[in-house]
Symmetry: C2
Subunit: 539 residues, 2 copies
């Protein structure tokens, strides 16, 4: 399976694409469930029908063995995995694919690739699993560069060292979820960082974008799992010490974490790993109202119980995934430990839920296994990126956005976001739904996550989505939220990120980038504007 | 008590200084216990005998009411609280006191002070409680500035807002531990961040220096308690959104946290607070060997039990403080919660200790109260800064240093540090002790903390300590540790910090500072070199 290449558009591998007859059967089921969408799926534009612009760059002879310039490689690296990306890929629209896709196998090859690309006046786009949903890997860099080189890191996919004493591992940036976990399993360890994109997302990409995993409390973001990072910058290697904690100036790691490829190319990192859990306790708690569930969630988040899983799903969204019947909001609650029994913690947490009107099936609580709702939810969660390819084919818009906010302002933000986004969905699409789940919680606030499903007009999808996205983002910003809790900024979130960040910090970040990347070649347009002509002259 | 002014040297307030007869009695006791030190304490140089250089700056008329230029204010703000500082203050050596001490009462006054100081070509030193032990507030800024203005923040000491729903509070930067806690207590809340300097340390200072509190796990540093920060920079206000979590680019807060006054003047912050604990369980566990205690500590740190207190004290150090009899290492272990019983967690933790040969008194375990050893330890801990003033008077060197390291390298680092520092103590002082405790633990490593006590020759103390410090710092760096886990960098740690940090990060930080502080006036010499003549010309 690993040797089968990825589809040139959408999610998954070429051998996972369902035959058209099966898609058609699925289309009927899905569109009936949603109440919209075509029964006859459109067909994606074949790669052979796509005309890509000629590559503007030619790698030097020594780099040619690790460089790709064929249509599949260039098309596949032209986008990430947002709805906008899938639609464009499906329709065969590839306006600015990378000129060259380099696939270094080690740091020396990475260094030589970077050196060549900078010397050639190219923009350099680091690329992991291509799972960005914010335009983070799209080579749309303006006209200030002589071309674009996408550096695909996935050949650098090894766990290099495991320190079982400190429970840490040194892992190459290109290691994607399954391969990373398989290698750690040989040492009885796990990273247990499971974003929805787990199948393809790489460690380097997770660090560069501050990815969130499945832990609902404490180690929510990869940030907390990073012990040290090694990155290549045009100004030389940036490598921090392996330290469990430090107070020596502002954290060098925290400046790289979230830098989205603009400051350096992450080569490898020491990350905190752990043994696989031996004890688990979980329950699915039903709440008649989402707000009652949120109140329970707040108390849980402030209790110090720190559940591993603590996901509250609105009734309508639970129904959409088959995890619930639509009559109640569901709280998927779980504890896990490699060291001690977790049953008592679950009992305490359930008492808290009961105080807020929560109820659960006696059989489903306290057990070590996964109950039905959790299992159904998880299957739907992992299937979602695959499902979206079908939705695009039947004219259904399917996209998500998320934020975080302190508890005191959560209700207002939630109401505003739902109201304004729903209105925009109606305006743009005539019908559709906006549903919510809370994916992560902190003592001071939740991270709500919204899903939009709506019928679209083929050929107008991007404009329709853009209207909805703008309404949602404006509502979030106005209510005090962050434009992203874990989807990163990329190119797509720039307008709101620019409003959100403190202006002196923007100036500091711009200067920091100029110091380590004087020509501004690293992922231009992400986080910061692409440099002007002066930047180019400095090359 | 609050109205009594601070001593112009050393720790505490003027009315807390013991009469000479009492000091003499204490000197006998202490020197007998240590085996060195004079029985007759020397007397500090009176302020009236100190000749300070004339102030080079004169505040504008509108700022005069909030500015001090008297000898006491200037002498008291000349140093922090390191051993080097106390010695120099005691001996009346004030080579570079600030020219002006400004005490703004609100942000507007702070802004006007900053504006005036920058315009006057002064270096600006932000000053909280003056508890820096690394030269972080010493106005030694070279000859590139026309004077120094120390901005004392302690008039900005109010809790401005408490959000009980989100468990967060907006607090002015100048609020010191006791006043801050007293104001939070009115709302039933606490920050529970207790550095040893709690009595005087301010919130702004804690944030600027990444201070560690008494939580041994999870929220070890103030970093974890910060929700958002507002700071004034020469380029304008730097204010982040109140967010429980975010993935929007590198964290703006994490760049300010640890910036030690070099990027901006922290005015206020939203911090995470909590209700006071209702449940507590604690025990003191004895280990025949420090290494067995460390092994238990490692298992505890990796268990997920996350004790609130988890401090392992070497037998010799426990004896010095009276907490133990010197026959065993002591682990002070405690759990606390506002939400649920903690007895079960303690039982599980004690089982882990027993596996490593730990033993405890049945009466001392599981109880809600504090046992004898913990109470004695805590009293000694809080008394230590006061005691040091006496030690200086009787010719005893008393200083600490600390680090953090991953577990796999801890034993080697510890052995190297003790060997090399002890050798340096013998070389420099002929006698003395180096003892260790572990103050904070992480799943991937501990933070060991070392105390040096030795007889010194009056007048040569600084040179003697510098030899010891250099040996200790070199051993730490060579063994892979950090030059500081929570004492910050200041001016004193620069040589080793410069070796430790990644060079591209140093370049990025330098550039970031230049972007928000073009003249380099904010705390010059801290973290980064003071700017050269070009920097001055740019003013």
């Amino acid at each position: 399976m690993k040797t089968t290449r990825r589809k040139h558009w959408g999610w998954g591998r070429e051998n996972e694409q369902l035959p058209h007859e099966q898609l058609r059967a699925a289309a009927v089921t899905v569109s009936q469930r949603l109440g919209f969408g075509e029964h006859e799926p459109a067909r994606p534009v074949e790669l052979s029908e796509v005309a890509l612009p000629d590559p503007r760059l030619r790698p030097t002879a020594d780099l040619r063995p690790i460089c790709l310039t064929d249509a599949h490689a260039r098309a596949r690296h032209a986008y990430g995995s947002s709805y906008r990306d899938v639609v464009r890929g499906f329709q065969g629209r590839f306006d600015h694919p990378p000129d060259v896709v380099a696939m270094p196998g080690d740091e020396l090859e990475l260094e030589r690739t970077l050196e060549w690309a900078l010397g050639a006046g190219a923009a350099v786009i680091p690329y992991g699993g291509g799972t960005s949903v914010v335009g983070g890997v799209e080579p749309e860099v303006g006209d200030r560069f002589d071309g674009t080189v996408t550096i695909d890191m996935t050949r650098m996919d090894r766990v290099l060292e495991v320190d079982s004493t400190s429970r840490a591992a040194r892992i190459q940036a290109g290691a994607a979820g399954p391969a990373l976990e398989a290698q750690l399993r040989e040492h009885g360890m796990t990273l247990r960082h499971y974003p929805q994109s787990f199948e393809f997302a790489t460690l380097g990409g997770m660090i560069a974008t501050r990815a969130a995993g499945h832990f609902a409390t404490l180690q929510t973001h990869i940030d907390e799992l990073v012990e040290s990072i090694r990155a290549l910058t045009p100004a030389g290697p940036w490598e921090s010490r392996r330290l469990p904690g430090s107070g020596a100036g502002p954290s060098p790691d925290r400046l790289l974490i979230g830098s989205e490829g603009t400051l350096g190319l992450i080569c490898e990192a020491w990350v905190r790993v752990r043994p696989r859990p031996r004890f688990r306790s979980s329950a699915t708690v039903r709440f008649a109202e989402f707000s009652a569930g949120a109140a329970a969630l707040r108390e849980l988040s402030q209790s110090g119980l720190n559940p591993a899983g603590c996901r509250l799903i609105e009734a309508a969204e639970a129904a959409l995934t088959g995890a619930g019947d639509g009559s109640s909001a569901l709280l998927l609650l779980s504890f896990e430990s490699a060291a001690f029994e977790t049953g008592a913690a679950l009992v305490t947490a359930l008492e808290c839920c009961a105080d807020h009107g929560g109820s659960w099936d006696a059989g489903g609580a306290g057990g070590a296994g996964e109950d039905h709702a959790s299992g159904t939810w998880r299957a739907a969660f992992l299937r979602a990126p695959y499902l979206r390819d079908l939705l695009v084919a039947i004219g259904v818009l399917s996209e998500t956005f998320e934020t975080a906010i302190t508890w005191d302002r959560f209700e207002r933000l939630h109401a505003e976001v739902v109201t304004r986004t729903t209105a925009a969905v109606r305006d743009a699409c005539g019908a559709g739904s906006v549903t919510c789940r809370i994916t992560h919680v902190y003592p001071d606030g939740p991270a709500p996550y919204y899903t939009v499903l709506a019928p679209v007009r083929i050929g107008e999808e991007l404009e329709q989505w853009d209207l909805i996205k703008r309404a949602a983002a404006e509502a979030i910003l106005a209510a005090g939220g962050t434009i992203t809790h874990h989807h990163a900024i990329g190119r797509d979130h720039r307008p709101w990120y620019d409003l959100q960040r403190p202006e002196p910090f923007a100036a500091a970040l711009r200067a920091a980038k100029a110091a380590v990347d004087p020509s501004g070649a690293l992922n231009p347009g992400v986080l910061l504007d692409s440099p002007g002509p002066a930047g180019r002259a400095a090359r």
